[in-house]
């Protein structure tokens, strides 16, 4: 515990009580900006991710697109999703979206996770999985609105993009951002990235003729620390199923914010009661035997 922690924590999964060290330091919120309109689908980000994180390789699958595999995997955290879209005038356009963890401000995975410290949200907005605390229950998989956490059956743990928290914690940009040759990926503070995204969206609307261009930063989960500039922000579903209003299942919210605290309080009070009962009343003593009263025959019997 003598090492200085590189990133301050803001939320910890399954952790009763306050977060240690919360609010002790000033902290900038970081953000990844993905300009889907300038992505050429070169997959440099995919390779950079695999290389930086030393992820093991596996055969890829072909499904009649240039997409590397159908969806992200426990050893493949960053995937460009390719979708051919027919516009109203009949022309085609290729919608490419870099799919990875969105690092939600209100993370569904963290809300769902019952293991203390398995999922941590740092004060700079990064949501990180700590596999040593993971119990492999896969609740985070169902809690995520973007289908990102993936289970590795060999290790019985769940893995996903860390936004290169090791790099960001040391002042570097994530590996995917650094590699991107077209510059469609940007990294900086949330504020700066929002401004850059809005500027680019305005340019697309005013100059490039995409009248619905806009920024994807869904309010329904408090915003994300990965934001998109889309040609058509009104229909994010076009981009291989980017949800318009992502949400965390109500059961998880209710479980963590209502039932779990109530249960903990109840259990604690019950235990305290037992302890006090023991202290004040003492252990159970042997009672003198009282012969049981003879059972009377039931009242209705006599008349039969």
């Amino acid at each position: 515990m003598t090492e200085r922690r590189t990133l301050q924590t803001e939320q910890i999964s399954g952790h009763p009580g306050p977060v240690p060290g919360m609010g002790m330091q000033r902290n900038l919120e970081v953000c990844k900006l993905i300009d889907a309109t300038t992505c050429i689908g070169c997959k440099a980000c995919e390779v950079a991710c695999v290389e930086w994180n030393d992820l093991p390789f596996q055969p890829t699958t072909f499904d009649n697109t240039y997409q590397t595999m159908p969806e992200t995997n426990w050893n493949y955290w960053n995937l460009i999703k390719f979708r051919e879209h027919q516009r109203e005038d009949g022309t085609l356009m290729w919608l490419m979206r870099k799919d990875q963890c969105m690092h939600c401000a209100d993370p569904g995975c963290l809300a769902a996770c019952p293991a203390d410290g398995a999922i941590v949200k740092y004060a700079n907005g990064i949501v990180d999985f700590h596999q040593e605390n993971c119990i492999g229950c896969e609740f985070c998989v169902s809690g995520c609105p973007f289908n990102i956490p993936k289970f590795n059956p060999a290790t019985k743990k769940v893995y996903k993009c860390t936004l290169c928290s090791d790099r960001v914690g040391q002042g570097l940009e994530p590996a995917c951002i650094k590699a991107c040759p077209t510059g469609c990926l940007h990294f900086g503070t949330k504020e700066d990235m929002k401004m850059l995204a809005e500027t680019r969206a305005k340019q697309l609307r005013d100059v490039s003729g995409f009248k619905d261009a806009g920024v994807y930063d869904p309010e329904s989960i408090g915003g994300t620390h990965v934001i998109y500039v889309l040609h058509d922000a009104k229909n994010p579903e076009l981009y291989s199923g980017l949800p318009k209003d992502p949400s965390i299942p109500f059961a998880y919210k209710a479980w963590k914010s209502i039932f779990k605290p109530l249960g903990l309080i109840g259990a604690t009070l019950g235990f305290v009661g037992v302890v006090f009962h023991y202290v004040f009343e003492g252990p159970k003593r042997e009672q003198p035997e009282v012969p049981p009263p003879k059972p009377e025959p039931p009242a209705g019997r006599k008349e039969l």
Binding site: S165, F280, G282
Partner: protein, 193 residues
């Protein structure tokens, strides 16, 4: 009521166990990110060997060049100070570590003899003397001193030289001097370094 010393200790112990069991752990939770794998590596600047764009890369090797360390490449990424790519890399360039740390990487000269179907390993000495012998023989056989109208041309059209994208200006200067002195006209490389 009376609380004896023994009962007090018992209650205190039970209470402590209970608090621990029910998760009131007072120890601060360690939430440290994984260490940076390149924090103390040796950085070597180099050029990506693939296409003619010739992006600058930084090759990270373990160790600090101390005498007893055999360095090994652990990571390759773009060189932010390089004017061409400014830190970015394409997917092939991003995977350079796999290119260096590859069991199929060629580390010695090979030759496929005329009529042979397989490559055989040869030593550098043999490779250089073979090349010299063949160049000399080819040049002696096919050198063109004058063209059909009798003008002096001194050219050698039966040999071509091609270079890779990591060839530097200095290397290419020597290449042109050497090859032109033999009379070569077909000289090309994709280097834009």
């Amino acid at each position: 009521m009376e609380v004896s010393r023994r009962t007090f200790f018992k209650a205190g112990l039970l209470g402590g166990v209970g608090l621990t069991v029910f998760g009131f752990d007072a120890a601060p939770l360690l939430a440290q990110t994984q260490g940076l794998k390149i924090s103390r590596t040796t950085e070597t600047r180099s050029t990506c060997p693939y296409c003619s764009v010739s992006c600058g890369v930084i090759i990270h090797t373990i160790g600090d060049k101390a005498k007893n360390v055999t360095p090994q490449v652990v990571h390759v990424e773009g060189d932010p100070d390089h004017p061409i790519n400014r830190g970015t890399l394409c997917p092939k360039g991003s995977s350079l570590q796999q290119d260096i740390m590859n069991e199929r990487r060629l580390t010695k000269p090979q030759v496929r003899r005329p009529g042979s179907t397989k490559w055989e390993d040869i030593s550098w000495d043999q490779a250089i003397s073979d090349i010299a012998r063949l160049v000399k023989k080819t040049r002696d056989d096919t050198f063109i001193a004058t063209d059909s109208e009798g003008r002096t041309v001194n050219r050698l059209e039966s040999i071509a030289f091609t270079g890779g994208c990591t060839d530097t200006n200095e290397f290419n200067f020597l290449v042109v001097k050497t090859m032109r002195s033999l009379g070569l006209t077909y000289i090309e490389n994709q280097a834009r370094v």
